[in-house]
């Protein structure tokens, strides 16, 4: 079977690099074609990379708390750029402070994200979900 391509990176002015490095490594190990943009990635860079590599999903990390501001509008920009139904996943510590996750989830789904993940999400969960979303068994 052909490898699925995933664009990953840490959005905005966020420099938390550890989780990104490990996530990229694990996705690679799990058989994905990983395009890792590293930290401090703008919405534009995510989209450009996804187009260029014909990606199957964009996996956005945000750790530092500004995730809500930084992710706002990403779906719209994807649509404009012709990435109409591309799965958008977000995870990390995506909002400021310890908040009720179901509320956070609602806000991100409303912003057009396919799925959002709370702090401490295991790599196994991420991979399993990606497999499901991309129809890999």
């Amino acid at each position: 079977m052909e490898k699925k391509t995933i664009v990953t990176g840490v959005i905005g002015a966020d420099v938390h690099a550890v989780g990104n490095k490990i996530l990229a490594f694990a996705l690679d190990q799990a058989g994905f074609n990983v395009v890792n943009l590293g930290v401090m990635v703008s919405q534009e860079e995510f989209i450009a990379a996804a187009i260029e590599t014909n990606a199957d999903a964009i996996l956005v990390s945000s750790l530092y708390g500004h995730g809500e501001i930084d992710c706002n509008g990403l779906r719209e920009k994807c649509n404009e750029a012709g990435l109409k139904d591309i799965p958008l996943l977000a995870g990390g510590n995506i909002v400021v402070g310890k908040q009720e996750f179901s509320e956070v989830e609602k806000r991100f789904i409303a912003m057009g994200f396919t799925k959002v993940y709370p702090p401490g999400t295991q790599i196994e969960t991420t991979i399993a979900d990606l497999n499901e979303i991309l129809g890999i068994k």
Partner: protein, 486 residues
């Protein structure tokens, strides 16, 4: 642009200054002479450096939180709360991430959005946007000394406003606030920017106002071997002292093995002193800061309390001058004031309970400290050599060559060849030495320590160990064992 480790000339500094103060409208509010006057009016018990010296003399460990929110009245309330309910000895003002990247327009949006939504939409306090007067409102509303903590590669305007705003201590450095906090800033630039910040503080010193300066010790906070962060601390101390800084607090982020942690603080103190003296800075004061575990935390709050407490204990047993405190919310997000105060109170219990116990002179600590000193010597000698005696040039060359190499750093100017892993007792060693110029003996030492672990775990030394170690504390362990040997 070439940056040399020499004191900035007044011409150069004041020309640059003119420009800097125009970066954002609040820059106009800075006036050096009235700032000196204002700083002189701050009573001694509210001066950061004085409180540190007192603690050093008494052999006690002060406690300090991290904290900052978008709205200034909320920020004042937060700090007052940490002072009364948290029993904090020293206060912070943690700056938001937009300000750290000089994105003042976005910080302004954050302020507005916070006003609208009623909750802080910024992960810190936007000092530059608020300007001198509001900073004075903040610093004067508190009983304890306040320090600016950030992570800003180009902090020139921030420094101007902060010191004029009445803060008496200032964190950062051209290496420690670049490599772990940035992707594209060159070291030439950030070292130059921090020469500016340090020279400004040197000018305050010359005007009779002493400001405490603290290089950011823990770097990426994740499995940074003591020799690496200690070497950076020594270099930043020299760079700061060259610009006229007279009061330095060098720092270290807890790794988790008690012997190694105490040894790290011991070697850090001794080698920093040695190098400052060697270059004639005998009048520069040195104190230390111990950061409770800076890597991934357990989600569970009770477990987080345990990690916090262990950090508090290690700080005291190492006789660090102060300890930076984590909170039970660490794994989740910016803490509420209650969670922040809870972490402080837990820490206070141990800084006072254990103050009469010291581990700085037990043989195992002395041995480990000697190893760290040897490692630091390998690194620092090479930096000096590469820079032909100039530590600014040497540092830039050293990063290029991977002589200094910070694990997990996001910066493209970091070699990223070094891989750390824990040995069988949890001490952080180097699995991949990269280009760090260790002697053969030291290389063998590191390798042996990791082979010992590999044998115990019945697997080979590999990158999987590194991954396991990154997760370990969050999952309740120090050494990331494979399931079979847990």
């Amino acid at each position: 642009m070439e940056v040399k480790n020499i004191k900035l000339s007044d011409d150069k500094f004041f020309a640059e200054r003119k420009e800097i103060l125009e970066h954002w409208p609040t820059g106009k509010g800075v006036d050096f002479n009235s700032a000196v006057e204002y700083q002189k009016s701050i009573p001694q018990e509210k001066r950061f450096g004085d409180k540190l010296q007192m603690a050093k003399k008494e052999g006690i460990t002060l406690i300090q939180p991290r904290a900052g929110v978008a709205l200034y009245d909320e920020h004042i309330k937060l700090l007052q709360y940490l002072e009364t309910e948290g029993e904090a000895d020293l206060l912070p003002t943690t700056v938001d991430s937009y300000t750290r990247l000089n994105r003042y327009t976005e910080a302004q949006t954050g302020i507005e959005k916070s006003k609208e939504s009623g909750r802080s939409m910024l992960n810190g306090f936007p000092i530059v946007n608020y300007g001198v007067d509001i900073c004075r409102t903040v610093t004067s509303a508190l009983k304890s000394p306040v320090q600016v903590r950030h992570g800003t590669p180009d902090a020139r305007l921030l420094t101007e406003i902060s010191i004029a705003g009445g803060f008496t201590s200032y964190e950062g450095g051209g290496i420690s606030y670049n490599i772990p906090y940035s992707k594209n800033h060159s070291l030439e630039k950030t070292i130059a920017h921090w020469q500016y910040a340090d020279r400004l503080i040197g000018l305050y010193e010359e005007a009779g106002v002493s400001i405490n300066r603290e290089p950011f010790g823990p770097l990426t906070g994740t499995l940074v071997a003591p020799c690496i962060s200690n070497s950076v601390a020594v270099i930043e101390s020299l760079l700061a002292a060259t610009q006229g800084v007279k009061d330095i607090t060098v720092g270290y982020g807890q790794c988790g093995n008690l012997i190694q942690d105490v040894a790290a603080i011991k070697s850090l103190t001794e080698v920093t002193r040695e190098y400052l003296d060697k270059f004639g800075f005998t009048d520069v004061k040195v104190t230390t800061v111990f950061h409770q575990w800076m890597g991934g935390f357990p989600q569970d709050e009770s477990k987080a309390f345990a990690v916090i407490s262990w950090g508090a204990a290690a700080a005291v047993l190492a006789k660090a001058t102060k300890v930076i405190v984590k909170t039970p919310h660490e794994a989740m997000g910016v803490p509420t004031k209650e969670a922040n105060a809870a972490g402080l109170r837990a820490t206070k219990q141990l800084t006072s309970m254990l103050k009469d116990q010291s581990f700085t002179n037990i043989p195992a600590v002395i041995m480990e400290s000697d190893i760290i000193k040897q490692e630091m010597k390998c690194i620092l000698d090479k930096v000096e050599e590469l820079g032909k005696g100039d530590y600014a040039l040497g540092t830039i060359a050293a990063f290029q060559a991977g002589i200094i190499d910070i694990p997990f750093a996001p910066s493209k100017f970091n070699a990223g060849k070094v891989m750390p892993a824990r040995d069988n007792t949890g001490a952080v060693r180097l699995l991949e030495v990269g280009n760090i110029p260790f002697s053969e003996d030291l290389k063998v030492f590191h390798r042996q320590k990791l082979e010992e672990r590999a044998a115990y775990e019945k697997r080979t030394v590999s990158f999987q160990m590194v991954i396991d170690d990154v997760y370990a504390i969050g999952k309740g362990f120090l050494v990331g064992r494979p399931n079979s040997t847990k």
